[in-house]
């Protein structure tokens, strides 16, 4: 095998061409990794939400708590079921609300009780305090607070026809609840004149009773509810990442094809400049396949260098917080770009792939070269 040092030195010799090719691959990888980070962040937001022993009960067929409503008496029926530890009755209202940048979108306002906080261990009050029952007070999740109008601690936010004081900031550990405004159940239900529950959040005693309760709800003709595990409920909403996924892969593939052509260009130039070197290597006894491998390797190394730079370029997007529409409810779902080690690996693999494809034809040409012709002095 031809020592890889030969390729590394060749790469360094053609400084300008190398730098520009690496730059092209790097930009492609940076875009690809950034979009993957966005998809990852959005998916993880849903996947991290929910606790294993919690059930979400919503009206049959409604598919989303935002469009569910049912009689409040049902709470009493569910509370007395065997294996039920605690039940929180909640109301969910979508309000159309402006971002700081001006455009409006829908935000979930959740009418809750103290119990709702207990049943969601990942949600806590990070600043200020929880709202007091009976008052028009709200706690706002951090990513809503920083991106929407009049939502900072101490502001008064317009919900329905009343101004509500923001008394606390919620931290929901980057779960889907990080996109919500919470207030007292009674106040919300009164403000919107909807004396109903949108969902019941049920904490079960153990996994067996959870399964049992789920089956009982499904079989109970009186309640007409669908029971989902809290985790399972949010897992299905990962489909909200679909449009970004489609866009991301399209952009990634098109840019990759473009970069492959660029790598090809560089590698063709490299083989053309080194005709005599290649011939010499052959004379020294290296086989055609050694040459092929050597040039393929050079191309991959070149692209992987681009991959490293690309990943470094993409790193700053980590942690950027943004929002998109949740498919299930059409409400804002806030999330953060997340770059994880597997994602970096994916980026590098993507780069190596471009190098491999781009290097294939030039390497083949180098390997097929006739020694005699190649050694003939240039005209």
């Amino acid at each position: 095998m031809i020592p890889i040092r030969y390729n590394l030195r060749s790469i360094v010799v053609r400084r300008m061409a190398t730098a520009m090719t690496i730059g092209g691959v790097a930009l492609t990888v940076a875009v690809f990794v950034s979009i993957l980070a966005m998809i990852q962040g959005l998916r993880n937001t849903f996947l991290d939400t929910g606790e294993p022993l919690n059930l979400i009960l919503i009206r049959q067929g409604s598919q989303s708590e935002a469009y569910s409503y049912f009689d409040r008496n049902i709470k009493g029926i569910v509370e007395t079921m065997d294996g039920v530890d605690a039940v929180a009755g909640e109301i969910v209202v979508l309000i159309n609300y402006p971002r700081i940048s001006g455009e409006t979108t829908n935000i979930i306002v959740r009418g809750v009780s103290e119990k709702s906080l207990e049943l969601r261990s990942k949600v806590r009050v990070a600043e200020g305090r929880f709202f007091r029952a009976g008052l028009r007070e709200v706690v706002v999740s951090r990513s809503i607070s920083s991106r929407f109008k009049d939502a900072r601690l101490g502001d008064a936010i317009l919900i329905g026809r009343t101004k509500w004081n923001v008394v606390g900031i919620l931290d929901a550990s980057r779960t889907a609840y990080d996109s919500e405004i919470w207030a007292d159940y009674n106040e919300v239900s009164e403000e919107f004149d909807r004396l109903i529950y949108s969902l019941l959040l049920v904490r079960c005693k153990d996994a067996r009773s959870l399964q049992f309760i789920k089956e009982r709800i499904a079989g109970d003709r009186r309640v007409k509810l669908d029971a989902f595990g809290e985790k399972e409920y949010f897992e299905t909403q990962t489909s909200s990442a679909l449009p970004i996924q489609v866009l991301g892969y399209m952009v990634g593939i098109i840019m990759a094809v473009g970069s492959c052509f660029a790598v090809m260009n560089t590698m063709y130039a490299a083989t053309a400049h080194r005709t005599r070197e290649i011939a010499t290597l052959r004379v020294l006894g290296f086989k055609r396949r050694n040459i092929l491998l050597s040039f393929m390797l050079e191309s991959v190394v070149l692209a992987v260098c681009g991959g490293v730079v690309g990943c470094l370029l993409a790193l700053p997007v980590h942690g950027i917080s943004t929002g998109t529409a949740n498919f299930a409810s059409f409400a804002e779902i806030a999330f953060q770009f997340r770059i994880t080690p597997p994602l970096i690996a994916e980026g590098m693999l993507f780069a190596a792939f471009m190098g491999g494809i781009g290097g294939l034809l030039p390497a083949r040409r180098a390997a097929k070269m006739q020694i005699v012709q190649a050694l003939r002095p240039e005209v």
Binding site: G23, L94, N96, I254, G258, S259, A262
Partner: protein, 379 residues
Amino acid sequence: MKFVSFILRNALRNRRRTVLTILSISMSLFLICTLRTLLDALESPTLTPEAAKRVVTRHATGLANSMPISYRERIRRVPGVEEVMANQWFGGVYKDPANFFAQFVVDADHFFDVYSEIRTETPEQRDAFTGLRTASLAGVNLAKRFDWKVGDRITLQGSIFPVNAETTIVGLVKGGGAESNFYFRWDYFNELFPANISGSFVVKARNVEDVPVVSESIDAMFLSSTAPTKTETEAAFILSFMSMWGNVRVLVGSISTVVLFAVILVAANTMAMSIRERTGEIAILKTLGFAPRQILGMTIAESALIALAGGLAGSIGARYLYASFDLTAYTMGFIQTLDVRWATVLLSAGISIAVAFISTFVPAYNAARAPIAVAIRRR
């Protein structure tokens, strides 16, 4: 003229390199055009003159809140209003939640007056919709997607409303963006779900000039009622939906910028390679009396030719590619067509020339300025 053939011959000297560069640039410009068109489609939907006369009234809190149907008659009496109709998003499930499409509940009697650009295949189909209580209309693209025909019975399982709508398709519609929508009648809906409500009202003003006054009078009329309203133009209403998807503009903008840098690198690499090979020739040209400015101009022209070929291939390719297939199925109905405007093609031609200039100026300038003796020796 002699320059033209000189430039052309130079551009085609290393055919493989030129073709690879053109391909690489065309992929990038294809992508930029796609993103630009996507943004156009999301931000400025093509509106007919009729659409400018329409405003949409909804509940001030948000679309998930509905208004009493009695608003319809009160809106009709507002001066300047020509026609008004109830418009409720049904959000039902056809067989599987993945079969998502827009379903509107509308007033059959006023539907074709308010949306005068929407047409059925025959006048009989139009009469059938006003004649049959359980009638429905399907957009032509939607019908194609599910292989529906006039006379088919369609059951939509309600998710927002706890009812199932069973309707018969009496006609296929097109025009006014109705190609992927589904419409059925409000009186049938109200029979299934007798709440006397509508999520929005579509109002057609007599004249475009009346639109601001009509909007203001409607909102003023309901200001202190239990369901205050928000009235805006149809264009603004559609835009507010698009803004839900998040900051698409920034996303598209940043991807395009990075792609642009990648194109510059590709073009610069190619031109640097070919200029380096020609150092000697350039020296000879100068010996023959060509001014550095002429050499600079010819080199930039050559690069502009290559970049322009790539840019036009990419953008015109995008135009015809997207025109030739239906995007509805791939985007769950959110984007029906991507119409790459000629303005966008022109834009990418402009970008190509700018890229050529930026990428070639420095190496060409240096080559044109190099002293003849040095350049010839370097050969």
